[in-house]
Each structure stands twice: as C-alpha cells, then as structure tokens.
C-alpha cells in the first residue's frame, strides 16, 4: 500500500526506470526502419534488397548498444528519447538508400552513394552517445566550462569563413582525408552550454536590476551587453557565411533561454525586435538572402531562371504529388529536386513517398522529442540543467521548424538539415550528442532521491495492521 506508482518524469519516489519500455520501443523503431528498407527494395527491384540483413543487423546493433549504454549509465533516463532518435535515424537511412538507387542521381557526374557513409556516421554518433553517457556522469560538470565553451563555439563558428563557400553558404570546412565538416552543428550544443552557464549566474541581475518603462522592464545597459553581442554575432554569421539558418537558430535559442532564466517577457519583445531589425537590415543588401525571399514568395515565378526558386518549386510539387497517402517508398520522383534531395530536401521525399500521413507522423516524432526535452527541463532540479535542457530542445524545435517550414514553403528556405533524417555526418553526430546530453539530464532529473537514513522514530509510529 505504501508504494506510490508515479509515472511522471517528475516522480521522486520509487520511480520506475522504464528501461524495458525503452527496449520495446527501440525494437519497434528498428522494425519500422527495416520494413521501410524492404519496401524500397520491393518497389524498385521487385525483391528484398541484398543488404537488408546487414542493414537490419547494423541498426539493431546500434540501437542495442545505445540501449545498453543507457541501461548501464543512465538508468532512469526518459524512455522515449532514444527510440525516437533511432526511428528517425533508421528511417533516414532507408530514405537515403532509396535516393541512392535513383537513376537520375546515378547519371550525375558528382554522384556518390550516401547511405553507407550515413550508416558509418550513425555508428560514430551512437558511439558519441555512449561516450557522453560514460564520461559525463553528471551534467553539472559542464557548468565549469562555461567560458571555455564560449571560446570553442566562437572558434567553430568563425572557422568556415576561411574555407571556400559551397552552394552559396560558407558553413563547411574541408579536412583532407576526412571530408567536410559543418562546425555549426556542434557549435549549437556548445553555445547552449555557454548560455546555460552564463545565464544561471547572471539571471538575477538580468531579471531584477531593471527599470519599469511603459509597462516593460528595461534591462540595464551592462546587462544588455551580452544580448547585443549575441545579436551582432548572429548577424555577422549571416553576413559573412550567408548562413541564415544558423543565425536564426542561435538567436532564437538565446532568446528562449534568456526568457526562461529571467522570467521577463520584455526580453522576448527585445529579442523579436532585434531579430526583425537584423533580418530586414541584412535582407536589404545581401543578394543570397534576397534570392531566398523571392523564391519563397513565388517559387514558380523564377522557374528556369533562378536555381533557388526552381528547387523550391520542385519541392512543393513533390509534396503535392504525394497527396494524402503518398506514392509509396521508392515510387516517387523526389529525386527531380537534384543534388540536395537527400540533405536539405529529404522531407520532400518523405512527403511524396509517405504522403501527408507519413509527414505528419514524422513531424509528430520530432514534436515528441522536443516535448520530452521540455519535460526534462521541467523535471530538472538544478537551474543549469533546466536551462541546458530547454536550450537544447528549443534549438532542436527551431531547427525542425526552420528546415521543415523552409522546404514546405512556409518560411524562406535557409539551408539547414533535418536532424537525424538528412544525409550529413556532422549533423548526425551532433544530434546524437544532443540526445545524449538530454538523456543525461533526464536521468538526473528522474533518479529517485537517496533514501533517508533509517530513523528510530519511524519504527515507533508504524501502524500495525491486524
């Protein structure tokens, strides 16, 4: 009678670890991915793909290792985060492999199959997860590296400026022998660590030391400094690296964390105002940005003249062709979009081949990850953990919105990748690390408090039933 079954993540007393739930869900996620893989093979060649066993075994190995690591190092972690990530990663692999089979791609001079590389990076990603869980016993350790992480993030963000631009954006660095890297993906996590550490220390100063002016709490100038810096910084990224996505992401993440830390709505108002000023300012002289905006306003107007708008139009047509139920994996023509079909535009394939139903499913999976992240932030007991968790899940949500909204023509296209789904080593690696940190925070949050020392009084007041 005295055992309280608490199923929320906030539970403190005898919280069930839910590891078996997680295992069942991971198996389910792997099964869906393997079915997707088989589906592609049957649709394209009329037989089960020869690599199916290898793919299934590989994915099962990755999922199993990740699950065992969680079982071993983060026993009380949220049981949904890992299966959702495995599902997206597995589904992404199946879709990338499907695009590799495209004859249209294979006839391109620059064609190189991406699925095997993606599987390798997924393995490295899961390795990162295991490493993070094993090494980072407590997320509060990260607090010590607040200013170092700022320096590292700055370095990572500035680095691509010295490398040639690819398709109009300077967000890649080329390392001979290894390939290309997108440091911005890693900077996302490191900068969240810096913000969490900084804001945790300064939150009282930012929240309380302000004057009331026209119903808003105006911060003091010296507290306003960092926010202005971040604003200027995100604009600089936009100007020098023409990377709209990252600047939006960093700024959005900062505003979210600032709001949570200070509990002051005025920061949001300032944030929105400044991002609006920045966006309009940059858009007025940066041709790359202007091109994206015109392509967004009327994607069909620039057909045949402008590469950006043609890509947009092709993406919209892919979504339209999918309709409610989709054409079925392997039976669409999303490869018409061209070289970015397996990275920036991978959602167009989901939309065309899995249809509205599949798209909504995938979007809800992303929504669930974000929701579990926010829940972790709510459950975390320390302010640093709360801020870090909300920063990471907020940036995840913004990234999903910016990419999916971009390829669906809801907002201008910014050229980021869909986490886990899109082909790209840096992205997969960074997002596995992100999930690892969220798992770590949720483990700390859900871990039951140590049992109080046995008290002699307790013995006395015990009710004895007949």
């Amino acid at each position: 009678m005295s055992v309280v079954t608490n199923t929320t993540t906030i539970g403190a007393i005898d919280a069930p670890s839910r590891r078996n739930t997680e295992l069942a869900l991971v198996i389910f996620a792997i099964a869906i991915s393997v079915f997707a893989y088989a589906n592609v093979g049957l649709a394209l060649n009329g037989e089960l793909p020869s690599g199916m066993l290898g793919y299934g075994a590989g994915l099962a190995l990755l999922g199993g290792v990740a699950h065992l690591a969680v079982r071993r190092f983060a026993k009380y972690a949220d049981p949904l985060l890992l299966p959702l990530a495995v599902l997206l990663n597995g589904l992404g692999l199946a879709i990338i492999w499907r695009l590799d089979q495209s004859e249209r791609f294979q006839s391109l001079a620059t064609f190189a199959p991406a699925a095997s590389k993606q599987l390798l990076f997924s393995a490295i990603g899961v390795g990162t997860l295991v490493a993070v869980l094993a090494i980072l016993k407590d997320h509060r350790i990260l607090q010590r590296y607040t200013y170092i992480s700022m320096l590292v993030a700055l370095f990572l963000l500035i680095l691509p400026m010295f490398f040639p631009s690819v398709n109009g954006a300077k967000i890649w660095i080329k390392i001979p022998g290894v390939g290309t890297l997108q440091p911005g993906e890693f900077a996302k996590i490191i900068i969240a660590v810096f913000f969490a550490g900084y804001l945790m220390v300064k939150r009282d100063a930012l929240a309380l030391a302000s004057r009331r002016f026209m119903g808003l709490y105006l911060p003091r100038g010296r507290d306003l400094g960092p926010i202005l810096m971040v604003w200027a910084f995100s604009i600089l990224i936009l100007v020098f690296e023409t990377d709209l996505g990252s600047s939006l992401l960093f700024f959005g993440m900062f505003v979210v964390m600032l709001y949570v830390a200070t509990e002051r709505t005025s920061w949001i108002v300032f944030g929105l105002l400044m991002s609006a000023i920045g966006a309009v300012g940059v858009a007025s002289f940066e041709p790359h940005v202007q091109q994206r905006v015109t392509a967004w306003l009327d994607p069909f107007a620039g057909w045949g003249e402008q590469a950006a708008s043609e890509q947009m139009a092709k993406s919209l047509m892919a979504f339209g062709s999918g309709g409610t139920l989709g054409t079925g994996l392997g039976q669409g023509h999303s490869d018409l979009i061209g070289f970015a079909a397996n990275s920036d535009f991978i959602l167009a394939t989901v939309g065309e081949e899995l249809g509205l139903a599949g798209m909504m499913g995938v979007l809800l999976v992303y929504g669930l990850i974000v929701e579990r992240g926010v829940r972790t932030a709510l459950a975390a007991r320390d302010p640093f953990g709360k801020l870090l968790a909300i920063g990471l899940s907020g940036s995840f949500a913004i990234q999903v919105f910016v990419v999916a909204g971009g390829v669906m023509g809801l907002i201008p296209l910014t050229g980021m990748t869909m986490p886990f789904l899109a082909a790209g080593g840096s992205s997969v690696l960074a997002n596995w690390a992100l999930i690892a940190i969220l798992i770590r925070i949720s483990d700390t949050a859900r871990r039951p408090a140590p049992a109080p020392a046995p008290s002699t009084d307790a013995e006395m007041t015990q009710v004895v039933r007949p």
Partner: protein
C-alpha cells in the same frame, strides 16, 4: 523557472502545429494543383510510363508505342504511316506536348480519363498493368490514301465527309510531316522539329482545318442556294435577269467573266455550268449582304467547328455592296476552310440537312469495351429538301457537261462545282484550284468532298479547278463508293 518553461513548451507546440497545418495545406488542399502543375515533370513521366492507347482506322491501329532506353520516359509514340495520318492524329511528343486527337483524347489514350475509372479500379485489383484505351476514328483508309496520292507533291488539302452522318472520311493536308521524328526528347528530335517549323512550306500546318482560302467559284452553289431559299429565283431553268456586261454596284467596273461564255440572262443551271461571274455577282447583290450572311450561317460559316479537333471559322463578312457582290462569287474577303466547303457539298447532297462533322466514332477501354459511340447530330437545316434537289441538279449538270467533267465516275451520279480562286495583290499570285462534289448511289449520297490545290495553273479560271482538283475528288469519291460495295 517552470512558468516560462511551460510557455516555451506551448511555443514549441505551436511551431509543430504550424508545420502540420502547412503540410495539410500542401498535401491535401493544394495536392491536385501541384500534382498537375505544368512544370511538374511527373505528369510527363507518368504519361510515357506505359503504352499509350492507339488511334484506329478501319479496325487497324495507325499509331503505336515503342520502348525507349534513355531518360525517364519509358515509352515513345510512333506512327505507322506518319505523313498520311498526321493531319488526323496530330503529334504526341515527350518534349513538345501534343496536338489534335493525340491531345484531345489524351485522357483515353493514357488511360487517365474519368470514363475509365471503373476499368482502372478493376485492373488495380487484378494487378494488371495500366493501359491506355483506343480511339476509333471515322476515317476511311482508302479515301485518305486516294486523297494523299492525288495531292502528291502539290500543296493542298482534301476533306471528305459522309453527308448522311457528318463522319469525316478523309482529311488530308500536304505537304505533311512524320510526327515520329520528334516524338522523343533527344537533341535529334528537337532538331527535327526545328527543321519542320522553319520549312517555308509549313508542313505542320493543317490546311484542311486551319487554313482559310477564298473559295472562288465553288461558292456559287451557296449563292444559288441563297437565291432559291429567299425566293429570288424559283425555276433553275428559267432565264434570270442578268445583263452583260454587269457593273459592280457603286462603281464603274464591269464584273468580268472568264472568256466568252453565254451569261446574258442565263438560267441558274446554265450559269453554274459555265460559271458565270456576272450572274452570281448580281444575285448576291440582289439578295444583299444580310441575307447572304444568313445563308452562310446555315451552312456553318462564321464560327469555329469542332470535329473535335478545332477548325478555323470560315468567314462571310459584313461588307459594302461591291465587296458583297464579289464575296458572292467567292472572292473579296470571303474565306473558307476546305472542311467548310465539304460541309456545303454534304448539306446539298443530304437534301439540305447539314450534319455535325466528327472524326471520333468510338472510344474503347483497354479491354476493348466501347465506352462511347458517336451519334450523328444535325447541325442545321441549310436549305429545304426541294431547293437542295434543285442545286443537286445544277451541280450534276456541271459534272455531266460543264466545267467539272473530269469528276465523272461511270455508273455513279456525281454533282460538283469547280473554282479557281484568285488571290494576292492584283491577282499576282497563283490561284487556288478548288473542287467540291458529292457522289450519289441508290442509297443516297455516301460521300461529299472538297479539294483545294494551292499552286493551280493560272491560265483559265474554271478549267484549272476542273483540271487539277476534280480528278483528286473523283478518286476519293470512287474509293469511298468502292469500299461501300
């Protein structure tokens, strides 16, 4: 810190909700529009992903599909005898869209038509490959071949109709082209098309339906019909009031006849036999512009004709008196398509009843079930049966011992009218040779024909229409009459 966290959670929820709403908007509300968008290559890919149905003449397919190796289109359209049938089928090219029947009957030929819905659903369950349906035409292979042979190297057009139903039996236009040469989407196809477009003889122009010519003297049968219908004259063998020379109204210019022919007060029959300009010019002037337009309207002038392939409108315009008199003999701004003149001949042959011309007899589902069968349809009553028979007598005289003797077929009654239409500034260009006619057997008239040859010999008016166009009309009529036996 939990209150702002909850708000951020709501904010993230709104972001995801916005994506879901946008997705529904794209993939449900706008799906059809995007899926059939003109830039959407999937439409083309789907169109050529399976074998296209065939267009059928005399029970045999005149089109086909072959598998191609290169690119994302699986099948390519081919024509069995391209130049012969191009004026009927039009083209269907992977790179350059389609035209005429290939375009208008695309739904049936690709199998996408709603009429095939039941069929498609059925084959979905039986697992059969998607197939296109067939379009069965009304054309007569022998008549079409005769028309093409007759035109030969010359520029021109032939239209043959079944006067009793309106079915198109021949539809020839020369020079023609082979749609097979640009049915694919390679560079070679594009070059071949460019060459056709640049050709100054315009082989891709459908002269039978889309070119209007001055009808010349063949139009005199329309003027005669108008005179009879309006009671201007009654007896085709009575003398008309036709002075010679006759001056065009409001001018001092006498309307010339071709040579020294007996036109003064000639009877209708005689005037048509020798093709008197003065008699018919005055007749048109006596009737007036309004009555002439009314009569041409009844024959189907002044609006586009859909067979279902669109034919240009033939024009008998509102005009001043001298121009109206000239229009009455098929000159001035009076312009007709060969199809229109075939309709005139067929209305007269069918005792005044003008039938709607059509060329699609049946549409067949892939399993050869008929899903549509054409019903002959009356377009208008061009003239009374009695008057039609009078015009028939006049036209038969033309062939018996007038300008159209070369259209005679032994054992068959033939009525006809020749024409040599002058055109160009001050008659500088070579005239068009015309001939319209019909054949008649015991069961009424099986065929009416209009022939136009662009580069006629310019020496003498009616002789050239009779000399150049009449033999072609005779061969086409003979082909139809023979195939009916």
């Amino acid at each position: 810190m939990n209150k702002p966290l909850r708000r951020i959670a709501i904010f993230c929820g709104i972001l995801v909700l916005a994506l879901l709403i946008r997705d529904n908007w794209l993939q449900y509300v706008r799906a059809d529009e995007l899926n059939s968008h003109k830039y959407n290559r999937r439409v083309q890919i789907e169109r050529y992903a399976h074998e296209r149905g065939d267009i059928i003449v005399d029970g045999k397919a005149i089109t086909g599909s072959v598998e191609t190796e290169d690119g994302d289109f699986t099948y390519k359209r081919v024509w069995k005898d391209g130049p012969l049938w191009a004026p009927v089928t039009g083209y269907s090219s992977q790179a350059f869209d389609s035209s005429q029947l290939e375009n208008l009957e695309d739904g049936i030929l690709t199998g996408n038509s709603d009429q095939l819905f039941f069929n498609r659903t059925l084959s979905m369950f039986t697992g059969k490959k998607k197939q296109g349906g067939n379009v069965v035409t009304t054309l007569n292979g022998a008549a079409q071949t005769a028309a093409f042979k007759g035109l030969g190297e010359k520029k021109g057009a032939v239209v043959a109709l079944d006067p009793q139903t309106g079915a198109i039996l021949a539809l020839a236009s020369t020079p023609s082209y082979d749609p097979s040469v640009f049915a694919g989407n390679s560079l070679k196809d594009s070059d071949a098309r460019q060459q056709l477009l640049k050709d100054k003889d315009k082989p891709m122009l459908n002269r039978a339906l889309r070119e209007t010519y001055p009808p010349g003297s063949t139009f005199k049968v329309v003027t005669a019909a108008a005179a009879l219908e309006n009671g201007l004259y009654d007896d085709i063998d009575a003398k008309t009031e036709s002075p010679l020379p006759w001056t065009l109204p409001q001018t001092q210019i006498p309307l010339q006849n071709e040579g020294d022919i007996p036109c003064e007060n000639a009877s209708l029959r005689e005037a048509l036999r020798v093709s008197c300009n003065s008699v018919f010019g005055k007749m048109s002037d006596d009737l007036g512009n309004k009555k002439m337009i009314e009569q041409t309207d009844k024959f189907g002038f002044n609006k586009e004709v859909f067979t279902p392939v669109r034919a240009d409108a033939s024009i008998y315009p509102e005009d001043n008196k001298p121009q109206n008199a000239m229009a009455g003999i098929g000159q001035a701004s009076n312009r007709t398509t060969p199809l229109q003149m075939a309709m005139v001949a067929s209305a007269i042959a069918n005792d005044g009843k003008l039938m709607q011309p059509y060329m699609v007899a049946k549409r067949q589902a892939p399993n050869l079930d008929d899903i549509y069968t054409a019903e002959p349809e009356e377009l208008s009553r061009a003239l009374s049966g009695e008057n039609a028979q009078k015009v028939q007598q006049m036209m038969e005289t033309v062939v018996k011992d007038g300008t159209g003797t070369r259209a005679q077929i032994p054992g068959v009654t033939v009525g006809g009218k020749t024409g040599t239409a002058q055109h160009g500034l001050n008659n500088s260009e070579k005239p068009y040779a015309w001939f319209i006619s019909y054949a008649k057997t015991d069961n009424g008239s099986p065929v009416a024909v209009a022939v136009v040859v662009e580069d006629g010999n310019a020496n003498r008016d009616d002789i050239s229409g009779g000399g150049l166009a009449a033999p072609i009309a005779r061969d086409v009529m003979k082909a139809v009459v023979d195939s009916k036996q």
